[in-house]
């Protein structure tokens, strides 16, 4: 609680002060400075994704059919599995946020470990997913844009898995873990929501659009 440190009965002081020494050093959500950093990077990455999606729709106008004949539409098996893993990953991400806000170390570790497991599985299957596209990046502009969208998201996915692993490592290191690091757990988990949910519209563009023309 912040207050003017000027008791009403005391003689007027030379200088009024606002004493902030009792304010918290760990905050969550939009009260946390790092959260704004994460939001900034989501805005940057989100813009990149929107630009790539716009490029796909623009390029589509240059072809009579989508995918261009004789390229077959992409397979849906592995891509759907990856999408499912990314969405299931939101469950541990949700609980990781909750446990971080309660400063519950054991629960944070548990949920982050599960998120890491699901993220690693999604990344592994993602590497197979490129085969499902049925086209190479250098075949034509269709191949270029679908490879690029998939590649962009994979790039972010790999960094996210590495970040999750690093935070998990920190949660296991009592020598280094400080209360403020729980805000990082929350932050990383909020980013998981961005990463998984942003894939839904991109998935529709890459995989379903070719099936409807």
């Amino acid at each position: 609680m912040t207050s003017l440190a000027h008791p009403p009965d005391a003689p007027p002081p030379a200088r009024l002060t606002i004493d902030v020494s009792e304010l918290p050093t760990t905050t969550f959500g939009r009260r946390n400075l790092n959260w704004w950093g994460t939001v900034g990077f989501m805005a940057i990455e989100g813009t990149t994704m929107i630009v790539a999606a716009a490029a796909l729709l623009y390029i589509r106008g240059n072809f009579d059919s989508w995918p261009p004949r004789p390229i077959l539409p992409p397979h849906l098996g592995v891509p759907s599995l990856v999408l499912l893993l990314l969405l299931v990953k939101l469950v541990p991400a949700w609980y990781a946020i909750d446990s971080a806000q309660r400063l519950d170390r054991a629960a944070s570790r548990r949920w982050m470990a599960l998120a890491l497991l699901l993220g690693t599985a999604a990344t592994a299957f993602r590497l197979l997913e490129f085969d499902s596209l049925n086209v190479r990046w250098d075949t034509n502009a269709y191949g270029s844009i679908v490879w690029t969208i998939l590649g962009l998201h994979t790039f972010l996915l790999v960094f996210d898995v590495l970040e999750t692993a690093a935070i998990l490592l920190l949660l296991g290191d009592e020598e280094r873990l400080r209360t403020k690091h729980y805000a990082d757990v929350e932050d990383a988990s909020v980013y998981e929501f961005f990463l998984s949910l942003s894939w839904v519209p991109l998935f529709l563009l890459v995989y379903l659009l070719p099936r409807i023309g």
Partner: protein, 656 residues
């Protein structure tokens, strides 16, 4: 803690506070400290010096071009060298000078103006600078090796694509773009977070200095514009390096896509350069007219409106690609509309001068030069917003004249105004007024003599980007005149550099607030100590310094053992929490070098992406991995008892 009246120990306590903060915020000595610093002021000054070096280099490019065009069939350079000259000149001025130097002013002054100790994410700030430097060195290294890019600063495909630009020249261009955009993007994130969260108590959103507003709007524009061009430059790099077909018509790609992506960035880019300049003008006017700037709400709303409308005009760069009539009309209307908020700002500034008590210093001369030059550029802008007119002058020297009036008038004049105004804060000394006046008049006259004749040259049909012309077209005299102007212009810059060199040693000493100005950067010593303020100030009005009273409260209770900053709420700036900024680190530099390996290496082999990516991950791990608690405790203990882990840097002057 509230000291009793006339407390004899107050001064002692303040001295002790300065000593402690100086120990905590000191950089390591020597080269190591130089490489690891995260002080926003040191980093911003580096940006300014580096950007000015690029400004001078690109200016020399321009002089060579003007010498070549001084007479018909000039033989100084051939077409290949000329192509490199105008490409490197334009790319440098836009990407390595104008945007970075405006960001640098923001990085230096936003934390001071909002009353905090450092910019948010200080290590990211260091990373941004190193990335920018690598991008600049890449471009200029290539140019000196005669492999500079040569397809123009907007690198239209198919000319810049693999079919018509074989070799590495345009790869250098596309990677340089990515480097500088990374730097601009991280700076934008830092500035937004600083303004959102690190404002001094009482500095509600309605009391933000207009310069801070301008940097905030600019930073939001950067987020969307720079992400777009970085994506586009990566598309181009992939077309060139791994055989994608984004812009290859034969395989379903589209050159017009490049134009859309580039100008969706490229036009907002003009406002990314111009809005901070408007912020400079709004900052200097109160100090030199002795009144708050007229129409604060109108200026703020105009700034935001410019930021929004600026995103709806990009197609006016593409009027000649064959647009549907409706689209042409829309983008003409939008381009005319964007003049309105700018005009509102100009009327507010005129009203400020009109109703104030202006002092005619060098700073104000440059503000006057800005009005005249920028308004001429704005008026030709309204002309070429019309599709019919634009079709006549497209790709002629008329356009060259127009955008130099806008960019030099709208950005470089205010920038020099800012230099004369803030130099005392940076260095503790004033720039010489005599040399400053000479600088201004040479600059102003040189500007008009160089670029005004180009309007007529354009109307006479002289195309831009031609390395020579034949005699008898009626272009000789005006070209020679423009060249004379260019050398006058260059002389002005030399006078400025001489003024800086002289003033650094012999300039009149400046105290904390030599102009009796109204914003918080003047509440601390000149130059400010590493920690900016001993006590975070409390703000009572829009003119933070003019509205303060002797008994205004100050903030106490921030740690003097670690680099702690006060976080306040978004709208009302109520104290909310304390946040620990990190110590200096070498990892931002290592991460930037890894990014360098990634993008420069990718020009030669795609595997560099994996190698650079792995190195980046290693550097990022080192960047984020915390110290052991026992180590932190030992450092804090040492700092508390006066044993700095770095030798303490003495505070230069007493702060408020």
């Amino acid at each position: 803690m509230a000291p009793a009246p006339g407390d004899p120990h107050e001064d002692e306590r303040l001295d002790e506070m300065h000593e402690r903060l100086a120990r905590v915020h000191a950089d390591a000595p020597g080269l190591w400290g130089w490489l690891t610093t995260t002080d926003h002021k040191r980093i911003a000054k580096r940006y300014v010096v580096t950007a000015m070096a690029f400004f001078v280099l690109a200016g020399i490019d321009a002089l060579i071009m003007r010498l070549q065009l001084a007479r018909p069939e000039g033989g100084l350079v051939g077409p290949d060298a000329y192509n490199q000259l105008f490409t490197v000149h334009g790319s440098t001025m836009m990407f390595l000078f104008a945007v970075p130097i405006m960001e640098a002013l923001g990085l230096y002054f936003v934390p001071l103006m909002v009353g905090t100790r450092n910019v948010a994410f200080p290590r990211l700030n260091a990373f941004g600078y190193w990335t920018y430097l690598i991008g600049g060195v890449l471009l200029w290294g290539a140019f000196f090796l005669d492999v500079g890019p040569d397809a123009g600063w907007f690198a239209y495909v198919p000319l810049s694509g693999p079919a018509f630009s074989p070799g590495k020249r345009m790869d250098v261009w596309s990677q340089m773009i990515t480097f500088t955009e990374i730097a601009a993007l991280v700076s934008a994130v830092e500035i937004i977070a600083t303004v959102m969260h690190q404002k001094a108590p009482g500095m509600s959103i309605a009391r933000l200095p207009i310069f801070v507003w301008a940097m905030l709007v600019t930073s939001f524009m950067v987020l969307f514009a720079m992400s777009t061009v970085a994506t586009a430059s990566i598309f181009l790099a992939m077309d060139r390096l791994i055989g994608t077909h984004f812009f290859n018509v034969a395989e379903g790609g589209d050159p017009i896509l490049w134009q859309h992506l580039f100008w969706f960035f490229g036009h907002p880019e003009v406002y990314i350069i111009f809005l901070p300049a408007t912020g400079i003008v709004s900052s200097v006017l109160p100090a030199f007219t002795r009144r708050p700037v007229f129409g604060y709400p109108a200026i703020v709303v105009s700034t935001i409106a410019t930021g929004v409308i600026g995103y709806t005009v990009w197609v006016h760069h593409m009027f000649n690609i064959g647009l549907p009539v409706l689209a042409g009309s829309f983008f003409t209307a939008a381009s005319l509309l964007v003049a309105v908020p700018t005009a509102v700002q100009i009327f507010c500034w005129i009203a400020t001068i009109w109703t104030g008590r202006p002092r005619l210093t060098t700073t104000m001369l440059f503000v006057g030069g800005f009005f005249v030059t920028f308004i001429i550029g704005g008026l030709t802008g309204v002309q070429i917003a019309s599709m019919a007119f634009d079709a006549q002058v497209h790709d002629t020297f008329f356009i060259v004249a127009h955008f130099h009036y806008v960019l030099i008038g709208g950005a470089v004049f205010p920038l020099f105004a800012g230099f004369y105004y803030w130099f005392p804060k940076w260095t503790g000394r004033h720039l010489g007024e005599g040399l400053g006046t000479l600088h201004f008049w040479l600059f102003f006259i040189g500007m008009q003599v160089t670029f005004f004749p180009m309007h007529q040259l354009g109307l006479d049909g002289m195309p831009r980007r031609v390395y020579t012309y034949v005699d008898g077209l009626g272009w000789n005299g005006l070209n020679l005149l423009a060249t004379v102007g260019a050398f006058t212009f260059a002389a002005a810059v030399l006078v400025f550099l001489a003024n800086v060199a002289w003033s650094l040693r012999h300039g009149a000493r400046a105290d904390a607030d030599p102009w009796v100005a109204d914003t918080l950067e003047w509440a601390t010593s000149s130059p400010p100590p590493a920690y900016n303020f001993a006590h975070i100030p409390v703000v009572r009005g829009r003119s933070a310094l003019w509205d303060r009273t002797p008994n205004d409260p100050i903030v106490v209770g921030l740690s003097t053992k670690r680099r702690e900053v006060l976080l306040t709420t978004l709208l009302d700036a109520e104290p909310d929490s304390r946040h620990e900024h990190p110590w200096p680190s070498i990892h931002p530099l290592l991460a930037a070098l890894a990014v360098g390996v990634l993008f420069v290496g990718a020009i030669f082999h795609p595997a560099a992406v994996l190698v650079g990516g792995a190195l980046f991950c290693a550097a990022a791990f080192g960047w984020g991995w915390p110290r052991k608690k026992s180590e932190i405790h030992a450092i804090e203990h040492a700092l508390e008892h006066g044993h700095a882990h770095h030798p303490p840097a003495a505070p230069s002057r007493r702060t408020a």
